[in-house]
Assembly symmetry: C2
Homo-oligomer: 550 residues x 2
């Protein structure tokens, strides 16, 4: 039957519950595209650059927990997806890269857009990197890729699909499980008991909510355990966070993790719940963790103690681990020390937030716009249940401290440092959560990296609000030059990126767009974006000298 | 001394004659950028995406023959440069990738924007992929990278430069040769004699001018030998061509190589002079070469006979090889058969060109615009000595047949299939040849891949003319679906990329721009572009159904 190979791939994806295939196709995708018009699910979403396909798939996979496909063309298309794949890997996001490679007839001859070792492009970012060898195994290969990507610790998988195999008309057996069994591991009884003992005897206890809580829908169990123990709750360090593990509106919330956070400096027991080991931007002169006893839980055994030593490691399913801890601590007594410590930490956080808002408000009528004031207006104007996708580089800390603040907003970002991720990932969140307001906060450098996002967002009519923190520079580069020089004086070569009219470019892509030079104009622009049936870009011109932490 | 490491790198590049460093920097480039403001040469050119840096370096390296640097940031910046690096590799272009990696202190800890094996991203596209291990060897490492990239067969090289090594303040010995000795190899006497014997006795002789002739400045020697032997001259196959080896205005020129070219089908001896073995787009149903005796010359021994067997292989320096052949054939007699064959081939080519121009002119007032008519107007309006940078995908054959035609125009393109190359490479040609008109002919899909080119071109005021063949579709995908279906009927999913106002986007980037819907408007737009002191984008709306060869 014509298209048997392509149909076997699409049948396998559909039966496994895959909703979307993001692609930027080439000639190797002819058979899949030809068959795709007969499938309501998986739906094929066109992007105009492979980087967009990968980050959009990452966003959708994070929002739904489902493996999501980026179907990339030949060696060049695959190469264009690598940087954002690194982001999906760090977020344990089950992005399945299907790579349409050229026919096996010409691959080893160096035919057009072939590479001798395509899997080597992505090997260090995926859990598996096979290339299909037989057309009669296409369904089996796709099914295997989906199972490996979904199994915790979840993560990206690569599967090469040579054109001649996909174009087979011979019957391909499809024998796929309707859903994959998720093997549930739990920590040993000894490790659970050791962690419970530390928690029970702690006097100054801090729980850090990691991204795994969001991925594994374990936020409520985490919050319940923190309640019972009266632990201070923090969000994961902004260097490693992918997804907010709990809403910042959670009881006992006292800000984001940082070694210099007063509660971290003072705590005696620290629980890293479902997150990586700390990640350094540059070699740190200060300790990354306090001298407290540390319990580190993760679905990824190798993440535990990766950078800093820990006292107790808990490996296993996030939900099962929290259930075990909850059972072990069922009878824990109220502890006055912990209550006092928690009280103080939350009160101090509230006071810091209040003071920051007051400072920021003072800047609200200043021109050029300062970032802290911009974030304060966003915090005030955006709905409390919107989804914030963050990729603003040097403004990242202020985004999370102010716009997430103590709101109910979900936060998604990348620790991968791949510019443009936050624009394209917003497509995935918008498709997964059409009832939510999606706000992507980005830098002006990022805008040029994620620019093709606008084509897909406009063509699908996705009502994403893009807020550009436009300081007309590579602020991170300037900050690095300042650190290197130990001085703010002198020239900053190769960091001035002024000269682009972002609003005009956005309109050219079919987006609604505003150029904002005074924050008084921002509320109306946000309101217009909120009712527009397509993407809106709000280009906020901020002070070029306000380029974030040195 | 502050900045000793960075200065050693810049001194080494300057002393070796490197003119330009294209970069899209990050924090790892702080020391290099800080030092760079003291150097007039190499000049640092800012791009706003790494893909632009790599292709621009490729263009400059091809135009000048000099190794040219793309300085890429960390693992994500390197990843973004891979697809165009593949193009530089296929063109044997000495692009030197300097990759600012994170400090050795945090690299193995999985610090921010690290990858465990950065060199694996690019290994299959470079001649060498070292990572510097010691700060006192920085100059030596850079010097070695330059020598390897420049040595024939030339090609890209990768060098990782960890941030802590580059930021050393300790003295770094710089002991670089002022220029690299280019070892000159020549084919064995036996091989030269065998080739000369075939040429001397040929009755129907065809010389195909390969891209190496341009790179090694051997066009005149090639033309002189073709004159002496009265050989038909063709340009390299459009599937493999990187740079036009001779101008199409050369005597005896009869079009581009294709297995179905009448002179190729009929010749008895064929000379592939300085080019790769044929490259297949898809498995070919027809023979890639005729049954003629084949002499294949290249600086790359492994290119000879790579896909099709040859009778005589000549490996060595292009110029030396041509000199040897010229000496061996000094006394060759005039051959009436060859003269008649050449006469007929050139006359037939002239007639085909005339007929094509006549057909194309008939389409000049047709709306929507057809590609052949667009190319005819470009052929007529553009100066005879301009540089054409081609990346129009399905319109590639018509571009070379008509706009190169039998003109004196230089032609540069990629056989790498990495969309966007032709926009960014034009930056390199414009910087290398400021006295020449640079015209980049691209597709609308390509425009979105190379879009950040406009920022650098506008900020430098580079007078590049970008002509967009805008069929509002991924025409190559549609053509592939037609081939696959063996039918033009039915839907073409994921190939409609209408909806972007390319002229408005270009204006947003600071370019002059025109939207052309009737070819009568094109001459004025080209004239305005020719006098504008910056980039100009001419968006030509062509028939969406005129999507190139099926």
């Amino acid at each position: 039957m014509k298209g048997a190979g392509a149909r076997a791939i699409l049948d396998t994806l559909r039966d496994a519950g895959v909703d979307l295939i993001f692609t930027c196709p080439g000639s190797t995708e002819a058979a899949i595209l030809d068959a795709s018009s007969e499938y309501e699910r998986p739906r094929t979403i066109l992007t105009t650059h492979e980087s967009i396909a990968v980050a959009a798939a990452d966003g959708y996979a994070r929002a739904t927990g489902k493996p999501t496909v980026a179907y990339l063309h030949a060696n060049v298309g695959l190469a264009n997806g690598i940087a954002h794949l690194h982001c999906a890997q760090l977020a344990n996001s089950p992005v399945v890269i299907l790579n349409g490679t050229k026919s096996t007839v010409i691959a080893n001859r160096g035919g057009f857009t072939t590479a001798p070792y395509p899997a080597e492009y992505v090997r260090q970012h995926v859990k598996s990197d096979r290339i299909a060898l037989r057309s009669d195994a296409l369904a089996e290969e796709v099914s295997r890729a989906l199972r490996i990507a979904s199994t915790e610790p979840a993560g990206p998988v690569y599967l090469g699909l040579p054109q001649d195999l996909v174009e087979t008309d011979a019957a391909v057996p499809v024998r796929v499980a309707q859903s994959f069994p998720q093997p549930i591991a739990r920590p040993s009884a000894e490790a659970t008991a050791a962690a419970a003992a530390l928690f029970a005897h702690a006097k100054r206890l801090v729980f850090v909510a990691g991204s795994e809580l969001a991925r594994n829908k374990a936020s409520d169990a985490f919050i319940a355990l923190a309640d019972r123990l009266d632990a201070v709750v923090l969000l994961e360090d902004r260097r490693t966070i992918a997804d907010s593990g709990v809403p910042a509106s959670a009881p006992r919330y006292a800000g984001t993790y940082a070694p210099e956070h007063p509660a971290i400096a003072a705590c005696d027991v620290l629980f890293f719940a479902g997150m990586p080991s700390p990640m350094e931007f540059e070699p740190s002169k200060k300790a990354l963790v306090p001298t407290a006893a540390i319990v580190h839980a993760s679905t990824d055994a190798l993440a535990i103690g990766k950078v800093v030593p820990v006292d107790v490691g808990l490996v296993g399913s996030t939900a099962a681990m929290l259930a075990d801890l909850s059972a072990a601590l069922a009878d824990v007594a109220v502890n006055a020390d912990r209550a006092a410590f928690r009280n103080e930490a939350v009160a101090a956080h509230t006071e810091r937030s209040r003071a920051a808002r007051t400072r920021a408000r003072k800047g609200e009528n200043v021109e050029p716009i300062v970032v802290s004031a911009l974030m304060a207006v966003l915090a005030e104007e955006l709905p409390d249940d919107c989804i914030i996708v963050g990729d603003p580089v040097t403004s990242g800390a202020e985004l999370i401290e102010t716009v997430i603040g103590d709101s109910n907003r979900a936060y998604h970002t990348t620790s991968g440092g791949s510019l443009g991720w936050g624009m394209a990932a917003a497509i995935g969140f918008a498709l997964a959560e059409p009832q939510k307001r999606i706000v992507s906060v980005i830098g002006d450098g990022v805008f040029q990296f994620g620019i093709q996002t606008l084509w897909t967002a406009a063509s699908l009519g996705l009502p994403i609000t893009f807020v550009v923190v436009n300081n007309a520079s590579y602020a991170a580069v300037r900050a690095a030059i300042k650190r290197y020089r130990r001085s703010s004086a002198g020239p900053f070569p190769a960091s001035d990126i002024a000269g682009i009219d972002i609003a005009m470019v956005a309109r050219g892509f079919g987006a609604l767009a505003f150029s904002v030079k005074n924050l008084r104009e921002l509320p109306a622009a946000l309101a217009a974006a909120g009712t527009h049936a397509g993407p809106c870009v709000i280009d906020v011109h901020t002070d070029s000298n306000d380029t974030g932490p040195a």
